[in-house]
């Protein structure tokens, strides 16, 4: 369908990935387990994020993405995102990458689905970009790189009509069709149902440019309103709020695309919480969603110092079922074979000798051998180019 979707898809998915990795690496530093604390130092964390951001927003990479082309398949997309993650010193094994990909996918599916009007997807993308810019704010060259990229995106997408943007949205919805993976943070916040479907509200402000349903107006042949009548709209809608900014910076208004996982101060958490489920604000005044923190903290125990993970070990040792499987529950799950756990465990290893050039090359070589079956033809050029970066 739309041939312009790929750049926004990669930036949004990449953004979600950075949110999770950032939270992971921070939490690791704050853990009570003295054995693990400080393995990923503040400097390491910044370096990982900077490396990934540098590649993601490089001119060559974006240029390749912006060529008119169909969307990549999930396999190819996962490959690209894995390569992105591995431009840093961090290594994720396939099982971790799978889980990370699932989480990114569901987060993005939620954002696209709930997007009030197709143009707001640009605002969601800008929320991601704004957050990424914050993460690398210490590095002016990276900030410039991001700003340049954002200018390109503004230039490419803001002139599109609503119909073309809806086509893009439909293309993305086609990519995420039939994904019903349950994510504990979404279930907890009541934005996802137990069957994996997202909750769609029938209340709130209407999208910018729309009118609150409930009115019929009649006009005469000269275009003057002659009569009006109301009807019961069955929902609880209010007028549209102000439009978000489509500039390099500005208030985007929408909360979709902002960082759900940020380990922030109590005050920050409160503001982000009040717009969501109020019961969540009641249970926790300090720190982010405790469940999310817990499952992500589990990763901290595994992230440092573990260089070799076998898949079998990883599966039995790490997976924690925080929610009972729904298969016994009389058919709630709808046509999906996905298991119902909502835990994302990221096993990552740190390359101790990352500083030497030789070992870096050796690591690349080993990694290629471990890679699963190659990506589809689409994206091969992109991956080849990423190798050169």
């Amino acid at each position: 369908m739309s041939l312009r979707t790929l750049p926004l898809l990669v930036i949004n998915m990449g953004g979600e990935m950075l949110y999770i990795l950032d939270q992971r690496l921070r939490a690791q530093n704050e853990t009570d387990d003295k054995a693990l604390r400080g393995f990923w130092s503040e400097e390491d964390r910044k370096r990982v994020l900077n490396d990934i951001v540098r590649t993601m927003f490089s001119k060559a990479f974006l240029e390749e993405l912006m060529k008119p082309q169909d969307l990549y398949s999930h396999k190819a997309l996962r490959c690209v995102l894995t390569r992105l993650a591995h431009t840093s010193i961090m290594r994720l094994n396939p099982a971790s990458m799978d889980r990370l990909y699932d989480l990114m996918t569901m987060a993005l599916k939620h954002q696209i689905l709930l997007c009030p009007r197709p143009r707001d997807f640009l605002l969601i993308s800008f929320n991601h970009i704004d957050a990424i810019r914050e993460m690398v704010t210490d590095s002016p060259s990276l900030v410039n790189q991001i700003n340049d990229a954002q200018r390109q995106i503004i230039e490419m997408y803001t002139p599109l009509s609503d119909g073309e943007l809806q086509l893009m949205r439909q293309t993305l919805l086609a990519l995420f069709q039939d994904f019903h993976i349950r994510v504990s943070i979404f279930l907890k916040e009541k934005i996802q149902n137990p069957d994996g479907r997202f909750v769609l509200s029938t209340s709130g402000p209407v999208p910018h440019g729309s009118e609150v349903p409930g009115l019929i107006r009649w006009f005469n042949s000269r275009g003057r309103e002659v009569r009006r009548r109301e009807f019961p709209s069955g929902g609880c809608y209010t007028s549209a709020v102000r439009e978000g900014s489509f500039d390099i910076s500005g208030d985007r208004v929408t909360r979709l695309g902002k960082n759900k996982y940020s380990a922030t101060s109590a005050e920050d958490t409160r503001t982000s919480d009040t717009s969501k489920n109020t019961s969540k604000a009641k249970q926790e005044s300090v720190g982010p969603n405790p469940l999310a923190k817990e499952e992500l903290n589990l990763l901290a125990k595994l992230m440092g110092g573990m260089e070799v993970w076998s898949l079998a070990q990883a599966d039995t040792g790490i997976r924690v079922n925080l929610f009972p499987t729904d298969e016994d529950d009389g058919g709630i799950s709808v046509g999906t074979d996905e298991p119902s756990f909502g835990v994302i465990n990221i096993q990552a290893t740190k390359d101790h000798q990352a500083n030497t050039e030789l070992t870096r090359i050796a690591a690349e070589f080993t990694e290629q051998q471990d890679q699963p079956e190659g990506p589809s033809n689409k994206g091969d050029d992109l991956l080849a180019m990423m190798d050169d970066l």
Partner: protein, 388 residues
């Protein structure tokens, strides 16, 4: 359908005039509460409750979920065989179900998109719809690669038309979308470039030919509709819409004649109907507009939905109108059109909320509007409703 009224009184202090609209999330009951009174006086209120006009029937399961595409449901009623056919598009496949009226027999068939010389393709299908002509019914599929036409049961493909694709991909997507059967022998299909292809269809056989290409739109065609009242007196036969909201009204013939161009307001018109000369258009803003086709005069504008409208349908014998949108709501309206006096009346009748679903297709199952069916993104069923 029944309206129940209760009248009550409350004593207290109230503002002079306050209108309160309260609705339950299930959307089957609506209250209009109107407060009138002066400070310290007596409050009278009238409460009206809408009884359920339709009730939900057993859903039909389909082999794969519906894709988020405009007008993603087509229904064909075959009275002599007591069957109804339904089609729902999923990516590169069309799910076709034939349902017997007694509800006992369901049979499924899947049709795939085609490409070049290859019988099956991964190219995405944009729309599937039945075209009812006096002599035959054809099932038309439009995809990124071209247009496929089948016998009405989907058994044999009788025609394939490949879309012209540029040699080097441009940023503009290429696809066909918007299907309408016009008068006795035309099938019209829209293209992403804005062209409307007019196919001449013989009463039998596969000798279908492209007779004309109409070039008025410059944006991608979204939907097309032909006059469905059955009246031969209507001048306008076909209306086409595009992403800019522009509506073109046509008269069919050896050469199609453009009767009128109704400009859009830069909001995409995603679904169209044409009944008794009146164009009924659904927009991305959630509004429905009723235009007089030939003159372009706007009769009425309805703030119908809170999200993008995905489907409109009309029951030609009764004037019932169905609208469905991404806001999870299906609404039923009643249209009364008197061409002689140039009057158009629209009245809201009923709401149905399909919880947590972005609806992508809604169609009446019969010409009276006695039953209707609904599809939603990611849903693997066709939900049906019948009048209570």
């Amino acid at each position: 359908m029944a309206l129940h009224y209760s009248i009550g009184h409350l004593k207290g202090e109230f503002p002079f005039k306050m209108h309160l609209n309260v609705s339950s999330r299930s959307c089957n009951v609506s209250l209009f509460v109107c407060f009138r009174g002066n400070c310290g006086g007596l409050l009278s209120f009238i409460c009206s409750e809408m009884a359920k006009m339709y009730h939900k029937e057993k859903s039909i399961q389909i082999k794969s979920s519906a894709s988020a595409l405009y007008n993603n449901l087509s229904v064909l009623r075959i009275a002599p065989r007591c069957l109804t056919y339904f089609t729902v598009v999923h990516a590169n496949v069309v799910n076709m179900v034939s349902a017997s009226w007694d509800g006992l027999n369901y049979s499924h068939r899947q049709l795939q998109s085609k490409e070049g010389n290859v019988a099956t393709s991964s190219s995405l299908i944009m729309q599937a719809a039945w075209c009812v002509l006096p002599s035959r019914d054809l099932l038309v599929l439009t995809s990124q690669k071209g247009i496929q036409m089948y016998e009405s049961d989907g058994s044999i493909m009788v025609y394939w038309h490949a879309l012209e694709t540029p040699e080097t991909p441009t940023a503009q997507a290429v696809f066909a979308r918007g299907i309408a059967a016009v008068r006795e022998k035309y099938i019209c299909v829209g293209v992403s470039s804005g062209s409307v292809l007019v196919f001449d269809v013989p009463s039998k056989g596969s000798n279908i030919t492209l007779s004309e290409v109409l070039e008025e739109h410059t944006e991608a065609i979204t939907d097309m509709a032909s006059e469905c009242s059955g009246s031969m007196e209507c001048i306008a036969d076909l209306v086409s819409a595009d992403d800019s909201g522009l509506l073109c009204v046509w008269k069919s013939g050896g050469d199609f004649q453009l009767l009128n161009k109704i400009p859009g307001f830069d909001t995409s018109c995603s679904s169209l109907k044409l009944w008794k000369g009146t164009v009924i258009a659904g927009y991305g803003t959630g509004q429905i507009r009723l235009y007089e086709g030939v003159t372009g005069i706007l009769h009425a504008e309805v703030n119908a939905h809170a999200r993008w409208i995905y489907s409109l349908d009309i029951a030609p014998f009764t004037g019932l109108l169905l609208s469905a949108a991404e806001d999870s709501l299906v609404r039923v309206w009643h249209l009364t059109i008197t061409p002689e006096t140039n009057s158009v009346e629209i009245e809201h009748l009923y709401n149905e909320c399909v919880t947590d679903t972005q609806i992508c297709g809604a169609k009446f199952c019969d010409g009276d509007g006695y039953a209707f069916a609904v599809t939603g993104y990611d849903l693997s069923e066709i939900i049906r409703y019948t009048q209570a």
